[in-house]
């Protein structure tokens, strides 16, 4: 019997998801032994036309990381959807947009201006901006078009499963791959794989008491006590709004949860849940003081939606 075919692809992402796959260490050999890797641009060199030549649905499993930012990302998502039986949104970018999705707070024009003109290290006195088509003596050159905003994978093609995380933790990746290698039945379509069904708080070893917060701190403004809940100490921790699955890596070492496993199962909007959680712990009934305490949270959108802006309730259908 031939081995099941596996594909991995990256769209608008940082490459961390690829590293996370390699972080399963020697088990990568088992992946190779059990799958035929037909497409993985990060480690081998197949071309677009090779994928195009594959019969439809011939890839058994495709792990797709990265959000959809350019026309090329979209084209690859559509092609891989066509060629794959099971398409997985792998990692936070494909799932909810992640850090690259924060760029949705700005228009394409202002992003280009910032990146290609204003950054201190940029020298661009001719005001050259990337163009989808450029005429040169030899003919026309094309590059993918940067779209107005970044969208999660599920916004352009139907997605069968999601593996959250920035990046997904290696033991979780292995658990999913092992499940498939052992030929076990797949969970219902649409399931989130390689993660828990609770919040990060439920995996946190710190002790929680009643919270009464008069001001919020950023991590560098305070040295946290080692055993007490970080939010109890006024440190903005996204644990209450974030899906479990990482094993509480950050909170165990005194760093507040940044929210990389995305929205928690019961609350689809991570930012909304964070606002609810923080509002419950603010110790004030005075409107002015409340305002002051709320303002002590630096950058609420970037903090509460650090990983999920593009997939959030308002972010999903922003023009």
């Amino acid at each position: 019997m031939s081995k099941p075919k596996l594909a991995l692809y990256w769209a608008a992402s940082c490459g961390g998801c690829e590293i996370a796959v390699l972080d399963i260490e020697e088990k990568i050999l088992e992946v190779d032994a059990n799958f035929e890797i037909v497409f993985w641009p990060c480690v081998m060199d197949p071309k677009y036309k090779d994928v195009q030549a594959m019969p439809d649905k011939s890839i058994d499993l495709c792990l797709f990381n990265g959000g959809i930012r350019t026309s090329e990302n979209k084209k690859m998502a559509e092609l891989l959807r066509e060629k794959s039986q099971v398409l997985v949104a792998f990692g936070s970018c494909a799932h909810e947009g992640c850090i690259p999705g924060l760029a949705n707070l700005y228009s394409k024009d202002s992003l280009f201006k910032r990146v290609y003109k204003e950054t201190p290290t940029t020298e661009n006195s001719d005001g050259v901006y990337p163009q989808p088509v450029t005429k040169v003596p030899e003919g026309e050159l094309e590059i993918p078009e940067f779209q107005e905003k970044l969208v999660p994978l599920s916004a352009v093609v139907p997605v069968d499963y999601t593996i959250p995380g920035c990046p997904p933790q290696p033991h979780q990746i292995w658990a999913v791959l092992e499940h498939i290698i052992q030929g076990k039945a797949l969970p219902p379509q649409g399931s989130v794989l390689g993660a828990g069904l609770k919040t990060c708080c439920d995996e946190c070893p710190r002790t929680r008491e009643e919270k009464k917060i008069k001001r919020f701190y950023r991590p560098h403004e305070i040295i946290p006590n080692e055993t007490q809940c970080l939010l109890d100490q006024g440190i903005v921790c996204c644990g209450p709004a974030t899906r479990s699955g990482c094993g509480g890596l950050c909170v165990k070492v005194g760093i507040p949860c940044r929210g990389c496993y995305g929205a928690a199962p019961e609350s689809p909007d991570q930012g909304a849940k964070m606002m609810a959680a923080l509002s419950s712990v603010i110790d004030s009934q005075d409107p002015d003081e409340i305002e002051q305490i709320v303002n002590s949270v630096a950058d609420p959108v970037g903090t509460f939606y650090r990983f999920s802006l593009a997939g959030s309730m308002l972010g999903r259908n922003r023009k």
């Binding site: 603010i282 009934q285 972010g315």
Partner: protein, 142 residues
């Protein structure tokens, strides 16, 4: 003629603002017909998710009406709602949405006139701001 009529979702607490709205109605007070009211037991029940969902599904404004400070039937629900609204307004603003689209008001059961006034004012504010143009079909049915 497609003149813009603001759609406002009003989350009104059972014990005060909803009764105030009721009073405005039975007293036949004249007011803008733009608020779709949803009765909740307390403003403390209004999770920020509800508000964002209202916007995402096509509301141009969201009104939260609750008991005056100190009068909440469940002691502290309205303070919680106030804190959430401060967070939400800041967050809306950062996302390029005018924070005036969210309004929180304390309206007692005897303040039918105040309810009518708030509704009229808010309708005009939103009319001036124009439509929000968020309409997420997949979420409307979710």
């Amino acid at each position: 003629m497609n003149e813009f009529e603001p759609k406002i979702v009003g989350f009104l607490c059972n014990w005060c603002a909803y009764s105030g709205a009721d009073l405005a109605g039975v007293s036949r007070m004249k007011m803008a017909p733009n608020v779709r009211s949803i009765r909740v037991m307390c403003t403390g029940r209004v999770d920020p998710t509800f508000i964002l969902k209202a916007f995402a599904c096509g509301a141009d404004g969201v009104l939260i009406g609750g008991c005056h400070p100190g009068d909440c039937h469940y002691a502290e629900g309205n303070y919680k709602a106030l804190r959430r609204s401060v967070f939400l307004k800041r967050m809306l603003k950062e996302q390029g949405i005018d924070p005036q689209r969210l309004r929180i008001e304390w309206i007692s059961a005897s303040e039918g006139d105040k309810y009518a006034k708030v509704v009229d004012e808010m309708t005009e504010t939103i009319r001036a701001l124009g439509p929000l143009n968020q309409r997420n079909k997949e979420m409307i049915n979710a």
